[in-house]
């Protein structure tokens, strides 16, 4: 059999990343100008697609990582393909395969994170500074979706607590709210739902400070693909997946519990805490069992563990709380 080897691309022909990104920025600016000028025969979206096809900038770039004692062992990792093609990211479509197709439009550079609310001084962090704030750790976590499927994902990041310390929250800050990127010109699929955007999630301060809560920049040792929440997201492994907000642009420190998207959508289906709990059913299905993604049909079924198996590290956060009422 003949296998054609792809021609090598001399490094001299590779566009430096910075220029590549500048080109996109230039195109976006040019597009805005031309749109303003009314030169939109084809429609802005179509032009954007032709000039700048929805490629995933930066995704796949290797990250320098270190080992972590907080990683989960003894689990078979879900494949990169399944992790990056089976996503819930409703801003880019409600079907599982839509985010992978559509999230290329997410403008992940330049990217800043606003820190506001109960802090000594509101400030803005640049994504490239956040990447260098602490050593990036490889952390394998189980990921349990409220829809009763699960994965095992090797994330890359550092504990959110490290970032929160940099934010200097006031003692009155009891909750942290995370707001995701939203621009309805980019995420037009979000407009096809009755959800009010931007996506909002929140944690109690002690949950956010737990070392397991990960400020996440990558997976499988590489920069996050956009559909997985690039350029940065949180991962809260003992809670249902929707608590782990993606593509974060603002972090707010608050005295009171913030409104959160799915809790607002269906308070009887999705609680504020949403800890993985096999004893509290979703109204439409049992949470005792989960289906592991990527396994053959006869081997998918698994027993769901309390706190997704992270009880040793987090159960004490909820001492004295009725987890059936505070689901």
């Amino acid at each position: 059999m003949l296998i054609a080897t792809p021609p090598e691309i001399p490094s001299s022909e590779i566009t430096p990343q910075s220029q590549y990104l500048n080109r996109r920025r230039f195109l976006r600016a040019a597009l805005a100008t031309s749109t303003a000028a009314g030169a939109t025969v084809l429609g802005a979206d179509r032009i954007a697609e032709i000039l700048s096809p929805s490629v995933t900038v930066l995704a796949g770039t290797k990250l320098e990582t270190v080992k972590s004692p907080l990683t989960t062992s003894g689990e078979q990792l879900t494949s990169y393909n399944d992790i990056t093609s089976y996503n819930n990211f409703y801003e880019f479509g409600v079907d599982k395969d839509q985010p992978a197709k559509n999230a290329g439009l997410l403008p992940i550079r330049p990217w800043t994170v606003r820190v506001e609310g109960k802090v000594k001084q509101p400030r803005t962090f640049d994504i490239d500074d956040l990447l260098k704030l602490r050593p990036l750790e490889d952390r394998v976590y189980r990921h349990r979706c409220v829809e009763a499927w699960s994965m095992v994902i090797p994330w890359v990041g550092y504990s959110l607590s490290e970032f929160i310390r940099q934010c200097d929250p006031l003692p009155s800050a009891k909750y942290v709210q995370f707001l995701s990127y939203y621009d309805k010109r980019v995420e037009k699929w979000g407009e096809q739902t009755n959800i009010s955007w931007p996506y909002s999630e929140g944690l109690r301060m002690d949950e956010a400070m737990n070392p397991l809560t990960l400020l996440t920049f990558g997976l499988y040792g590489e920069v996050l693909p956009n559909q997985n929440g690039a350029p940065l997201r949180i991962v809260v492994p003992w809670k249902y997946g929707f608590k782990s907000a993606k593509s974060i642009v603002a972090v707010r420190f608050l005295e009171r519990q913030p409104p959160t998207t799915w809790n607002d959508q269906g308070p009887n289906e999705y609680g504020f805490y949403s800890n993985v709990n096999p004893n509290v059913d979703h109204p439409r299905w049992s949470q005792k069992i989960e289906r592991r993604i990527g396994q053959p049909f006869y081997a998918q079924r698994r027993t769901t563990l309390m706190f997704n198996g992270y009880g040793d590290q987090v159960a004490s956060l909820y001492n004295g709380m009725d987890l059936r009422r505070n689901f």
Partner: protein, 203 residues
């Protein structure tokens, strides 16, 4: 209709009805049922059930449109039995892959989850129809009683569609197409009866 034509059509009908199953078997053999194979199997068998059942319900209104379509009756049993076949695969998927043969879990589901209740009811309604699907059973019951018993298929189809609506997330509209088609087919019956009566006894 010539015997050879009938055989050709029956072969086509069999192949078409076996198509969803072959796709699943092929997918299982090549490990190509998507990221969540259990969900893929559940959806494919459920959809095949509703589609084939809807086709079987199209036969009577079509035959009443024209006397030249009388031969369609030869396909109704085949479609009905295939609908039951897929409904049973769908139920088996739930029993084996979701409930893991856990009787307590199934009892709790049927009691608590209305979409499961509706689905199980739909399957149970099809049972007596399958049991009386032979020529012998039709002779034993007599045409009239047999026909009356087989009106249960309307209830089964309605339960099936309700099961579909109750299972999807609020706001998701995927069950709309099959619902509209089924509604047209069910409404066609009284409308056709009314029109034929009008023709027979002009006012």
């Amino acid at each position: 209709m010539k015997r050879s034509t009938l055989i050709t059509f029956k072969t086509i009908a069999w192949l078409a009805c076996l198509w969803p199953l072959s796709r699943l078997l092929w997918g299982a053999a090549t490990n190509n049922l998507g990221a969540d194979p259990t969900a893929t199997i559940t959806f494919a068998t459920g959809l095949a059930t509703l589609r084939i059942l809807t086709l079987s319900l199209a036969i009577t209104p079509l035959r009443r449109l024209s006397s030249r379509l009388g031969w369609l009756i030869k396909f109704r049993r085949l479609l009905g039995l295939f609908a039951f076949f897929y409904a049973s695969l769908h139920l088996l998927t739930y029993i084996a892959l979701y409930a893991g043969f856990d009787v307590n879990a199934m009892a709790a589901d049927i009691a608590k989850r209305r979409y499961i209740t509706a689905g199980v009811v739909a399957w149970l309604l099809l049972l007596p129809l399958v049991a009386t699907s032979t020529n012998w059973a039709i002779r034993m019951l007599g045409g009239k009683r047999w026909s009356r018993l087989h009106t249960l298929v309307y209830a089964a189809a309605v339960c099936g569609v309700i099961h579909y609506w109750w299972q999807v997330k609020p706001g998701v509209l995927t069950p709309l197409t099959i619902t509209v088609v089924l509604a047209v087919l069910l409404l066609a019956r009284p409308i056709q009866t009314w029109m034929q009566r009008g023709r027979a006894h002009p006012a």
